[in-house]
Symmetry: C2
Subunit: 358 residues, 2 copies
């Protein structure tokens, strides 16, 4: 088993990565301080992993809550459902919530944990690639507002992240590929060597080869853990992790979270950010092509959907969380492995980038 650490003083926690972890009864019990656990999952994941997850908390009293599956349920209404279940079950401040599922389940469960009785413990059991390499690590929790993704949320760190890569074997191909977008992101913003490795191992990853998966997930979690340890609340370097996300969120919001997956939108967003970087003269066209080619090779979109207009994109982007005093700050590339946050780009270059559709 690989064990990484997110170093945040007394709020530090481990990331455990291995094949078959979830099949070990009691493996999570020591991360629960009280006696009560409530596992929150969805209708897709429950039949596959809920029984194992209950066993993982052997020795504790475990309740479960199964929610509908999908980003469109990541809203204040479903939060009410979670609060209702907690109060109906008379769960007190000593409860530990466990998020069993993808990013949506993790974000919602984490936000419930951040706000139920002003904050209770939670653990992350991510079962999608995207959640394993990105959303389960770092304590960002949120729900969506109809007019903006993750607009309502909190920073609340989990007590533990348990990544069982065996869960990836049941993941639909499209979702698996969407998760690769975030893996590729780490190479693009912070590690040219890793990007190079990804170019050479894309096929092994697509075949869900165990050792390739373990390496890619460990590397991604390492990069994320380092950034989060340095900048928990996104005052600086953590913002680089939003590469492709301002464009991507605009796509998702325009589609009411019902069409493209998050990773797909981010893939197109990263290409847009790379193209804008080229237009600024910051990134070579060759490097932008490498980014675009790798994303395409793993089956991801590399341009916004034609059904969304440039005007729609710009309107939604202007209410993104990265906006400060009216200016849209974007993560742009200087080279593969070297990203910057900037508001210092030409508006014409942005407009030209938005005009390009698939």
């Amino acid at each position: 088993m690989k064990q990484l650490s997110v170093d945040l003083g007394e709020r530090s926690y481990p990331i455990l990565i291995a094949q078959g972890l979830l099949s070990q009864p009691g493996c999570l019990s020591s991360y629960v301080q009280g006696e009560q656990v409530m596992i929150v999952t969805n209708t897709t994941v429950a039949p596959l992993y809920l029984a194992s997850a209950i066993e993982a908390f052997a020795g504790k009293t475990v309740a479960t809550l199964v929610l509908p599956d999908g980003e469109r349920y990541k809203n204040l209404d479903i939060l009410q459902t979670i609060y209702d279940a907690l109060i109906d079950g008379k769960f007190d401040r000593s409860v530990t919530l466990a998020a069993l599922g993808g990013g949506v389940i993790g974000d919602m469960t984490g936000f419930s944990a951040a706000t139920y009785q002003r904050g209770v413990d939670f653990v992350q059991i991510p079962t999608t690639l995207l959640a394993q390499v990105d959303s389960s690590v770092g304590g960002k929790t949120a729900v969506n507002h109809p007019r903006g993704k993750n607009m309502i949320g909190a920073f609340h760190q989990p007590r533990c992240v348990l990544i069982d890569i065996a869960t990836l074997l049941t993941l639909p191909k499209r979702e698996f590929q969407a998760g690769l977008a975030e893996v590729i992101k780490y190479g693009l913003i912070a590690d040219a060597e890793f990007f190079n490795w990804l170019e050479h191992n894309a096929k092994a990853l697509l075949a869900r080869d165990e050792s390739a998966l373990l390496y890619a997930i460990e590397k991604s979690c390492q990069l994320k853990a380092k950034v989060v340890s340095q900048d928990e609340r996104e005052q600086g370097a953590r913002a680089l992790l939003n590469f492709g996300h301002t464009f991507g969120h605009a796509i998702e919001t325009a589609q009411s979270y019902q069409d493209w997956l998050h990773g797909e939108a981010v893939a197109a967003g990263m290409v847009m950010a790379a193209q804008l970087s080229v237009r600024q003269g910051w990134l070579s066209p060759q490097d932008a092509d490498r980014a675009s080619n790798l994303l395409a090779a793993v089956g991801l979109p590399v341009a916004r959907p034609a059904s969304i207009t440039p005007e729609q994109m710009l309107t939604i982007m202007s209410v993104d969380k990265k906006v400060l005093d009216g200016t849209i700050r974007l993560v742009l590339l200087k080279a593969i492995g070297d990203a910057v946050v900037s508001a210092d780009y030409s508006r014409e270059a942005l407009q030209a980038t938005l005009n390009t559709a698939s």
Copy 2:
């Protein structure tokens, strides 16, 4: 002007107390880091103080949101209204929210600030006695769940608390008296000398004498700031501030927050806690009588409403935030000025205490 400090490292902030503070244009501008302010208030307070509050932020861009007045609106639905206004106005992470009103406005605005875009700044401008001496200081923010008060919330400290005691002159008598419950609470749990002063100055306070008010508010804020600085997240000593509140919350919840004011429920709750302390042999009957007599002297109830049954009380108390692993922990008195958190009381004594109604 009196200036106190809540000492919490880089999250420290001042409490400013004086007569007529709010009439000084620009007095709050230096506590706003960005350019945008949104003042959240209610239909009762807006006609009285919104114009002054806007002036208090001179030099900033100020928007306003006027909500309906009342504890029954302190819920997830009204939160949605606040989020909508923030998103419609394209407010970004640099916005500062300002809570202008009583405890309900402060708690909701604070929780919105804690969760909008994962946390933005806010300032407190409490206009009721209860908010000035209690809820505006210490960073507890929350909304109610239909089955439990303040069940959904966060710890989020304001940047500044501005207390203009001139606002108390427009406060309805009943609300003013309800605020005195929390003032008396500080004497009961932590300061026998202050309790003694309150016994001798109850009439001056009821007459809203300026110097008596200044002293009582300063003393209350001092005691609260000290406790919060020591125990921000209520791991220990801060729980003492909940004296009377577990009983009180049960009364409020049973009435769906529509009948007694919070301070009235807390007054009755404090008498119940004192009576339980007497039944335990911890507090002298004479001291319990002094507590009860002072509360009655300022026009507050000293027993639960007869319309609520002991069974209802107990059921609601068992989902209170102070419950840990199934046990109701209560704040009880050893003497006036000396409180303890305990689960070590007899269940029969609790039952007998609950059986007593007005």
